[in-house]
Point group: C2
Chain length 610, copies 2
């Protein structure tokens, strides 16, 4: 007899793949009908122009034409394709150029820049949409038989280069998981839910919400990323302070590998040797495809408030967060901007009314009276969730600590504009790319005793490196995702592109940021994964033997090396390969794609049209 | 530049190995001068006699003579031994019979029973005491060169069979880590401490305590187990409800393998691919030797109270625990005994005074008035730790929940006798073994919705299986180590030995318990590790592919298979091997040890002397 643990089985009928989440626009972030509107944030572009020393305004709006994207002839293994046609439904297979371009990359700077230059060397030859675990298993088996490589694809939101092909000479399949989107069972007594891995954030929260539950995982990519993607990359949601990172939420999972299915039990904790859940979490598609997971869930909070605060300086804000950690009273979310990031946030405000302008002036006067030096002030956004009483108590305790460090409250709902726009920030990059501005992020985590040294060294290295490329630097930072031992430190940077040297500029700056993390005792990423962008630093982070351990796992579960080949395994010359974009795509399957070089990219871009 | 994260370096001078924690007695639990005294618990033996139907009292006290233990000639690889003598100090190597016998086993029933029969087939050929990570690395390198196997040894407290040799034909070294016992650095701001892995519980708490800190890890084996052992077996302390299991406490670690050192960074959280910390945690010595770990630590709690409660019935007690989980107000420790375990606890009380007898009578009357049916009553032990206010608030909240489920408080310090004796329970088994009674435990964890079904099925299966062996069964259970999704379920069982069938009896009962866990959706162990005792169920727990993944790791980090060979890898006939004790020790290195069979063991035991 096996006990039935799931109290609510199959909440959604099996054939709901008919509803399918939309793909993001291939040339940028978000749905095709959503973009950043300067009018809604009138202070933003003037701020950007000023800090980046941009003189002009005559940026023509580009019309992105799919037809002008250079796409190699698909490299097809006929026997494999025939096999898949016999195993799957025609609606599950696509060789359409648009599908191939959409699955070519994630949404990192390199990805978008290449697409905007009309290059899609990362494109797969075929896109497969499995609708069941069996579809995944059949596809992997067929692929292993024919030496076809497979890259699992969730929402395509990754910005670390986890999704593009790194080998040109083999047929490459993108396995798009979005049709596996059911919450299979909710055990309300045990606060667990068994969920298919291809489900997107909003869909997941809607299905759990119907049971009064939430996963509590809200990454910036929430609208456009999947459960499986979160697990494969060790994602963190904005409220990880309360709910933990995704790896803290996984109770059990199923991963289909070329060698079979790895499956774990729905138990709270175990002592059954090495925790094989953790062999799958963070595997970035290199071992297999996560098809479902049993996750910790929580009752929807009775109450949620999102107050903001202003601290006289960054150091005091950090001390205040640390004191909350010490007193074990952290909010559900904490996001402390440094002065530059604070200025950016202020520039991002919605249009001012006369009343709000007047209030703003008064408030500035009040701050000056309180002794604030405005250029040093730091915005802190927080969220509190839970029972009505619990929230009130925690809020009192936190505010009393914040006040000790000179904070001024901005009102209980001052975070509402953040709430309303919290998933919109990635759209800014598209807006800026349209205006020849490069922006990107590098984030890490470190222990409390190291946060300020790391912050100062990295900021100064970042600025110096941008300056070196001949333009004025902008860099800002926020502290978030707090833990007892430390927090995430998240850097954002931007600069005017030097025509013809855009990629060189980006690589130079990105490299400095990552190297600073490693040199100063931090990790290569807190929640953005390794991908290609952080691969050269992997051995320094987890030690060379750690890399070899991962390689050993790979040999065991994917002996033919068909799963996302090249990832998590630095080459012999990792930095050289990292600098030489598309280094492996020099001859695609006997096709015509030649070496991609920066100059050529730049010429294409300079021609003004993609 | 690398930042100095550790604010307090090297708290103890390097050569403090001179103080060396004592080994436990070879024939039982604890130090040689400590044992269970029936006088201190006058109700215990009468209770045991009654429930186990034991008529006699004439058990002679055995004098354990080391000389009568059968010990094979050591199987020595001369070149390896010479090499070690050139690399290490003579004080670091031992071939003394006592050292070999001490390192032959852990403290499981099988282990103690064999030793009491004068058998030490698990004994290593040489014991090595490393005093530095380099000593470990040199030993492993020399061992790999000469195909010598190495079994890491912490306190020797394991009860799942993690420590005995499973191969007879190779030289086998026990690597005893107890001299690596320094707290290397405390970062009080980040609540982390870097600690050598061979440190014992009391030593660790003393060194951290000097800094006002605690690890918060107090397993039943606390006095006799090490940090490295805890990590290698995924140990849980009594207060895991507050501090987590050991795997939740590891920030970074270093593990020496035959292929080099795997080392991770001191960062709170990361997204650097597969979490290689988790390749080492739970590896049970099969991949390498954990030499140090950076652990989460906590300020010593300002206040600690240990109240006890009596619930009218088990089901209500479970509901009360669940309600605390729901309201997010669990105590730091929760231990709910079922009625049988409650009766055992009552029998374990210290001698009654006239006053306590009178109070006891009054209390019983009070309980009857409150509607308690005493045979169904269940004892709940709890602990609350933290700030004065925090403890008071939590206590109020918990007690108000407990009262709703009919609980009666036993006073704020009623758990003090539990506190005073909490590390003594393992001594009872020696006392009972001396009286021809077998006792052992099997523990697991499961989700809340499955706790009662699992409890009922396992209790009835356990009792039936003991009864089948021809004697009266005793079995009890407690719920502890609570999580949002479930808890640990811990079974204790005991029965009168059938002369000549002692081992057969034990194996039959143990097998039924473990099989029940697997059949009813639970795990093979919550915190006792796999070892040999749970190995046959590993593939059912983590899936056959999970076992293969672990094997792949092993091939990568220990290609010559010198590290604790045979563990975490079920043989082709796991149950057969499990039943056939010492199945691999049929001819030791050309020596004289013959097959160990149950009858022979029993004959030796029946002769009354070891």
């Amino acid at each position: 007899m096996t006990v039935r643990q799931d109290t609510q089985q199959h909440l959604m009928p099996a054939n709901q793949w008919a509803y399918e989440p939309r793909h993001m626009k291939w040339w940028g972030w978000g749905n095709e009908d959503v973009e950043f509107h300067a009018n809604a944030h009138p202070g933003f572009w003037p701020y950007a122009k000023q800090v980046l020393e941009i003189q002009r305004d005559d940026f023509s709006r580009r019309a992105w034409k799919l037809e002008s994207v250079e796409l190699a002839e698909p490299c097809l293994d006929e026997r494999f394709v025939n096999k898949l046609h016999s195993l799957l439904n025609p609606r599950q297979l696509s060789q359409q150029p648009k599908d191939r371009v959409i699955h070519a990359y994630g949404k990192g700077f390199r990805d978008l820049f290449r697409l905007r230059c009309g290059l899609a060397t990362g494109a797969p030859d075929l896109v497969v949409y499995p609708e069941s675990e069996q579809d995944v298993a059949l596809t992997l088996r067929a692929a292993a038989e024919r030496d076809v490589a497979v890259i699992p694809f969730g929402g395509g939101s990754n910005i670390s280069g986890c999704l593009e092909r790194m080998e040109a000479r083999r047929m490459m399949v993108s396995l798009d998981m979005r049709r596996m989107r059911r919450v299979l069972a909710v055990d309300a007594r045990s606060y667990t839910a068994r969920i298919e891995a291809g489900i997107f954030g909003p869909d997941l929260e809607q299905q759990l919400g119907a049971q009064g539950m939430t996963l509590g995982h809200f990454p910036d990519s929430f609208l456009h990323s999947t459960l499986g993607g979160w697990i494969a990359t060790r994602s963190a949601g904005m409220q990880s302070d309360k709910y933990g990172k995704i790896e803290d939420m996984v109770i059990a999972l199923r991963m289909v590998t070329p060698e079979g299915v790895l499956a774990t039990r729905t138990v709270p904790k175990s002592s059954s040797g090495i925790d094989v859940n953790h062999l799958c979490i963070g595997s970035e598609g290199t071992l297999g495809v996560i098809t479902e997971a049993t996750m910790r869930i929580h009752p929807r909070p009775e109450r949620r408030v999102v107050p903001g605060y202003l601290f006289p300086e960054f150091e005091g804000g950090i001390e205040a967060i640390h004191e909350c950690v010490r007193q074990e009273c952290t909010p559900a979310m904490v996001r402390l901007n440094d002065p530059d990031k604070t200025a950016l946030s202020m520039a991002f405000r919605p249009p001012a009314t006369r009343v709000s302008q007047a209030i703003g002036k008064l408030f500035k006067t009040y701050l000056r009276v309180k002794g604030f030096a405005l250029p040093r002030a730091c915005l802190m956004l927080t969220a509190f969730e839970g029972s009505r009483d619990g929230v009130a108590r925690r809020l009192r305790q936190v505010e009393s600590i914040y006040r000790r460090f000179g904070a001024v409250g901005l009102g209980a709902s001052s975070g509402k504009s953040f709430e309303a726009t919290k998933y919109d920030f990635p759209h800014i990059r598209d807006f800026l790319l349209d205006r020849d501005v490069t922006t990107d992020v590098s984030e890490t985590s470190t222990v409390w005793s190291n946060i300020l040294p790391l912050y100062r060294e990295t900021m100064s290295a970042l600025r110096a490196s941008i300056l070196e490329s001949g333009v004025r630097p902008w860099a800002g930072c926020h502290i978030s995702h707090t833990y007892q031992s430390g927090a995430s430190v998240y850097f954002t940077f931007g600069f005017k592109q030097q025509p013809g040297r855009e990629m060189e500029q980006y690589l130079g700056v990105k490299r400095v940021a990552q190297q600073s993390f490693i040199d100063h005792g931090a990790t290569l990423s807190h929640h953005h994964a390794v991908g290609t962008e952080h691969l050269p630093w992997l051995a320094a982070d987890i030690s060379p033997l750690g890399v070899r351990a991962v390689a050993a796992l790979k040999r065991g579960l994917d002996p033919a090396n068909i799963m996302n080949p090249g990832r998590l395994q630095p080459s012999a010359n990792p930095f050289e390969d990292w600098m030489r974009l598309d280094h492996r795509a020099d001859s695609q399957c006997g096709g015509t794609l030649s070496v991609v070089d920066f100059e050529r990219m730049s010429r294409r871009k300079a021609s003004g049209e993609s």
